[in-house]
């Protein structure tokens, strides 16, 4: 896997660097980074830090998409888990609050997985149910208000740092490593890709396609709950109304920018996270540019199209070295 990355990820890396360069042009102090209160501080750091929730989501989403699924509920799951963590943080010890939040995420993932793998409901509808109801559940937990907390342990996920690296970035990194170890260190990755590539054939080859499907949704729920914790810790409160709102689309976008096909099969976790960073770099750039906000969406659309255009099979086909490997993606 690691060996394949440089070649497969070239367009993404170039896109990321290009956006960073543009940011530097619109805001010359973009790369200024200093050390303050024991953590790194600067616009570039913001890109990583702000990108953390979507990056976390994109890890789980990459796995789900690899099985030909999609999880629209991740934003709502973020809200639920943030609400759980925030409302328990001040009254219970940190492990309880965290455990409950992660447990809630696993439960949500399990629910989605059961609908898709066992009841056979189409992923987009199955997860739409929790997307709608989940935000309601989150609001039910907070009763529609913003539940603030002061527990420093939970707040660490937002403002703390590990060796100067913001805690949220460290969480992303840790989760990425763990997931990569889990899917590439075992045969899970192969089986997930096989399931997404051709579920019928994989089942006949003895792959437990149902278990794979269930597992990816559960993992996606876990990733979403971490994202929810990070988001809640960031503002030291759970905003059930807005936490993770529309982030599911960003997560899907990140995975696709990371080169995955929505028709399942091959996935790369590293590139999905890079995709999330590309999106965030673009958002940060927009904020730094000083354009009026009415332009935000237009800029976003243009950049997204440009980034994907670079990877478009039709255009990439012109470069002989990458011709195969892509032409099979879309049928």
């Amino acid at each position: 896997m690691a060996l394949r990355l440089p070649r497969a990820g070239t367009p993404q890396i170039l896109a990321f660097l290009a956006i960073l360069a543009v940011n530097w042009v619109v805001s010359p102090q973009f790369f200024d980074t200093r050390f303050q209160d024991g953590r790194l501080f600067g616009s570039l750091v913001d890109v990583f830090n702000r990108g953390a929730p979507v990056a976390l989501l994109s890890i789980g989403m990459a796995l789900v998409i690899a099985t030909r699924g999609i999880d629209l509920s991740v934003g709502a799951v973020m809200a639920i888990c943030g609400a759980v963590a925030a409302s328990l943080a001040d009254s219970h010890p940190l492990p309880v609050a965290l455990g409950a939040a992660l447990g809630a995420g696993l439960l949500c993932g399990l629910w989605n997985g059961l609908l898709v793998a066992v009841l056979g409901i189409q992923p987009i509808v199955a997860t739409l149910i929790l997307m709608v109801a989940g935000r309601g559940i989150a609001q039910l937990i907070t009763e529609g208000r913003i539940v603030t907390f002061s527990d420093p342990g939970l707040a660490w996920f937002g403002g703390g740092s590990v060796l100067g690296v913001p805690a949220a970035v460290a969480v992303v990194f840790g989760m990425l490593l763990l997931t990569v170890a889990l899917v590439r260190g075992t045969a899970l990755g192969l089986m997930i890709e096989a399931t997404g590539g051709n579920a019928r054939a994989s089942a006949l080859a003895g792959v437990g396609t149902r278990a794979m499907t269930l597992a990816v949704y559960i993992w996606c729920g876990l990733c979403a709950s971490l994202a929810g914790i990070v988001a809640a810790a960031d503002i030291r409160g759970a905003d059930a109304n807005n936490a993770g709102l529309w982030l599911e689309l960003d997560a899907v976008l990140a995975v696709v920018i990371g080169g995955a096909s929505l028709f399942g099969g091959r996935f790369s976790l590293g590139l999905a996270v890079l995709g999330a960073l590309i999106i965030q770099a673009m958002n940060t750039g927009i904020l730094l540019s000083g354009f009026p906000p009415e332009f935000n969406l237009i800029v976003k659309a243009v950049v997204v199209l440009a980034v994907l255009l670079v990877q478009s099979p039709a255009l990439v086909g012109i470069l002989p070295s990458r011709q195969w490997g892509r032409s099979w993606r879309r049928r």
């Binding site: 260190g185 192969l190 890709e193 590539g197 054939a201 003895g206 002989p320 990458r322 195969w324 099979w328």
Partner: protein, 512 residues
């Protein structure tokens, strides 16, 4: 090149070249088709036959070369444009739409309309007429996907024929057909040829070549080897042209190992069956024995295989392995017991197109080991390398997505997938479909070898000669029921044919 006929060629291809990512699939190929002839396009798996067809019909772009139809250069960019120019094609994999009805498939893009409204009734009537020519009396309003590949293949051919083109190209149309349908197809082909239509015919069955083809063009490794009149090319020379070496034709003789009746069965099934799927049957499979399943299309061979493998759950009867009763609830159960199953529809049930050849080969083995015991990359490379060499999978690149391999090579990789699990019972459904003569011989030798090592083997095949060649016992199916068993010296093509044709069966007892 012999140009005995004075007339201008119908289709003339000159210097056609096509490369894929450093792999030269076609290298300056010339090809000439005359009006009214049936022209065989032959070559090993991966020789470039399908690529030639795709480039000519504009599905793939060409790097160099010209194509002329009736002396006028053409450069179609889509299959549609090629069809408009007069070239109708049946590509190697069935390329129809399972979700549309049979009639819609036949008429897609050229439906009869009145005031822009499709005339469904007229369309279905025409569809029935067209299919009658092919001996197919089916419900044309039913979705195509409800029919077997073989039927689908006939429909694809019927569609191409009905386009009444100048040129008809058939890429391995007979791979999934049995003798009877092949006859029907040949009759149609002769009729078309007599009307002046030029036909390009790709196949790996040399008998068929000699039955129907006027001339032969042979490709090897993307290059033109030569063009000959069929009549002037002895079979052995043809094989040598194709392989670039001689093939010892010692493969088709065998000794029907008369089973010593006493040996206990490895796996036995009693009263095994499923309502509206396959009637209950008894079957015992012994180590070292090859059992053939014979029957017409839709007779229930694939269904039997799927039941034995747990891909479909039986609702009658019991199964036992090594004398112990077992449950066959899913393919996983079967694999755990040491079964393997190479399905007939390689595109939908076999390959995972996007994964590499290596990954496809190790998939079943890995699944059996469980995800917690991954095969190391070294082991994977070693296994993939071994089978690529053993089965001569080309190109010999384990890291190529399998979907980019030629059909025959995909089939070999699937076989490798199951051989890699070192199964005790291997069920092969049409294992040699689309496999070239050289590899065919290899595979049959391999099957023998495996049996000698104690493997129990069940083979479904539409090639009767092939079944006769290696089966020790043949079970004949008709109308989804097992109707006869031939053993030892009783196994012969005529015996099988007469068992199939026996009239005591209730005719037309199709499951609804």
């Amino acid at each position: 090149m012999p140009t005995t006929l004075p007339e201008r060629p119908l289709l003339e291809v000159r210097g056609l070249t096509k490369s894929f990512a450093g792999l030269r699939a076609l290298d300056g190929v010339d090809f000439t088709l005359r009006a009214g002839e049936i022209h065989a396009l032959l070559g090993e798996n991966g020789a470039g036959k399908s690529t030639l067809i795709k480039v000519v019909t504009g599905v793939l772009s060409r790097d160099a070369g010209t194509v002329a139809l009736d002396g006028r250069a053409i450069a179609p960019r889509t299959a549609g444009q090629a069809a408009e120019a007069g070239i109708a094609t049946v590509y190697q994999e069935v390329n129809l739409l399972p979700n549309l009805s049979v009639a819609q498939n036949l008429f897609l893009g050229r439906e009869p309309t009145r005031f822009g409204i499709v005339r469904g009734g007229a369309m279905r009537r025409r569809a029935r007429e067209i299919l009658k020519d092919f001996g197919l009396a089916i419900d044309v309003a039913a979705p195509l996907g409800e029919y077997s590949v073989a039927v689908q293949h006939i429909i694809a051919i019927a569609r191409a024929v009905d386009l009444s083109a100048r040129v008809l190209i058939l890429d391995e149309p007979t791979a999934s057909l049995d003798a009877h349908e092949v006859e029907v197809l040949f009759a149609v082909m002769r009729r078309l040829a007599s009307r002046g239509i030029g036909i390009v015919f790709v196949t790996h069955f040399l008998d068929q070549v000699y039955t129907i083809c006027d001339r032969i063009t042979v490709l090897r490794n993307g290059r033109l080897v030569g063009e000959r009149e069929t009549a002037s090319l002895p079979r052995l020379d043809l094989v040598t042209m194709m392989l670039g070496r001689e093939l010892s034709e010692a493969t088709h003789e065998r000794s029907h190992a008369a089973l010593d009746g006493g040996s206990a069965a490895y796996a036995s099934f009693t009263g095994f069956g499923k309502a509206a799927y396959v009637a209950p049957f008894d079957l015992a499979l012994h180590r070292g024995e090859v059992v053939g399943l014979a029957g017409l299309l839709g007779s229930g061979r694939t269904e039997t295989a799927r039941l034995l493998f747990g891909a479909e759950r039986a609702d009658h009867g019991s199964a036992s392995v090594n004398g112990r009763p077992v449950r066959l609830g899913s393919p996983r159960d079967a694999i755990r017991l040491g079964f393997g199953y190479c399905p007939e529809e390689r595109k939908t049930d076999g390959i995972v197109a996007e994964l590499t050849v290596r990954e496809n080969i190790v998939l079943a083995l890995q699944a059996r080991r469980g995800f917690l015991r991954p095969l190391s990359r070294r082991r994977q490379d070693e296994i993939a390398g071994r089978f690529i060499r053993l089965l001569d999978i080309r190109p010999a690149d384990p890291e190529r997505p399998i979907g980019l391999l030629s059909g025959g090579n995909q089939q070999k990789a699937l076989l490798a997938r199951w051989l890699a699990t070192e199964p005790e019972l291997l069920i092969l459904d049409e294992p040699t479909r689309g496999i070239d003569v050289g590899a065919h011989a290899e595979i049959i030798r391999l099957i023998r070898q495996l049996c000698a090592d104690g493997l129990a083997l069940l083979v479904v095949s539409s090639e009767l000669d092939e079944i006769v060649a290696y089966a020790d016992r043949v079970v004949v199916l008709r109308d989804r029921a097992h109707v006869a068993t031939l053993e030892g010296e009783a196994v012969s093509e005529t015996a099988i044919l007469s068992a199939i044709a026996a009239t005591d069966a209730v005719a037309g007892r199709h499951a609804a």
